[in-house]
């Protein structure tokens, strides 16, 4: 029996009846997909470096500015979440599962602190 792609996706991302570990999985999967899509975008942007200084500089002027700051902040948040939760998964899958709930809470708190701090640094980087 086959499950349709639509039903599969709603099974992965079902929120009803789930707890902390369920939400952690949902966000990890979404952030994983976003980050993988970003590899493509990132490499595409780097192409401008082979086309000389003016191509690169005009691209940087277009993308590194206050209008794109919200996206930068979002992207760094996505990276921080996926990295820290990824570390939690490494610990659970490869070492011990027992502390995964505590680790989630700790990593969320640590992650939010890092996110606020790096967002401020990004703001300074873009505005100055």
């Amino acid at each position: 029996m086959l499950v349709s792609v639509k039903d599969s996706i709603s099974s992965w991302f079902r929120i009803e009846g789930r707890g902390i570990s369920g939400y952690a999985f949902i966000i990890h999967r979404l952030t994983g997909i976003v980050l993988t899509a970003y590899i493509f975008l990132h490499l595409a942007f780097l192409t401008s470096l082979t086309e000389g200084e003016s191509a690169y500089t005009s691209l940087i002027e277009k993308t590194v500015n206050i209008r794109f700051l919200p996206f930068d902040i979002l992207l760094i948040g996505v990276t921080i979440y996926h990295s820290l939760n990824g570390l939690r998964l490494v610990i659970a899958e490869f070492f011990v599962t027992r502390y995964h709930r505590e680790l989630f809470v700790i990593f969320i708190i640590v992650g939010v602190v890092i996110w606020i701090f790096t967002s401020y640094l990004l703001y300074r980087f873009v505005v100055v």
Binding site: V3, I9, R14, G17, S21, A92, E93, T97
Partner: protein, 241 residues
Amino acid sequence: MEEREVTFIVKRFYRNEWREDRYEFKAVRGMTVLDGLFHIRDNIDPSLSFRASCRMGICGSCGMVINGKAMLACSTQIFDLGTDVVRIEPLRNMEALKDLISDFDDFFEKHRRVKPYLIRKEEKSIEEGEYIQTPDELRKYRQYSLCIKCGLCYDACSITGSNKEYLGPAALASACRFIMDSRDQGEDERIPLVSDHTGCWRCHFMAECSEVCPKEVDPADAIQKLKRKALIYSLKRLFRR
């Protein structure tokens, strides 16, 4: 005794059609969801079907989805749910047969597939006595042997919902139960079974299976152990050749 008016909204399946029925009745403190269903069947609607046997959380028959979460109806008190409106549906990752009764065939077939019995390269004769095990050796797998095959974890796992071939938490925990057993010698048969596309690599440690398990089997933990066992087994294979 404390009494309260409660509403059961039951998602029912009959002859390929889904429908929802509402039942209102007075529940008393201490009444389980299963008691509520019996009350409905005996006093309101004799056509309501559900499975149950032991009424004490040991047979694993009464698994169903209660307010979005898979639970044993007999081990869940109505007043503990924190709401007077109780939505009940059959387990989601199995086919419904009638009302709250689900088809466990796939679930049991997957359990059978991991060879849930001791495999010996050579059997001892009866005269030689039993296979001795120390308490420590027992502790390595005891927890995983407590599974009652209720199928709650099968409902909670988002991968069993998307991949019909995935063995699922209960079968994999069962495989782990035998692989961790000092008396078992079936590694060569069982590890290849659980280490392919439909086995432990489908698990992404969502750990919802362990959240809903009424017996604290912790299948999520068992599956991560299986992954490490399978890795070591593979590495040995790769370097022996």
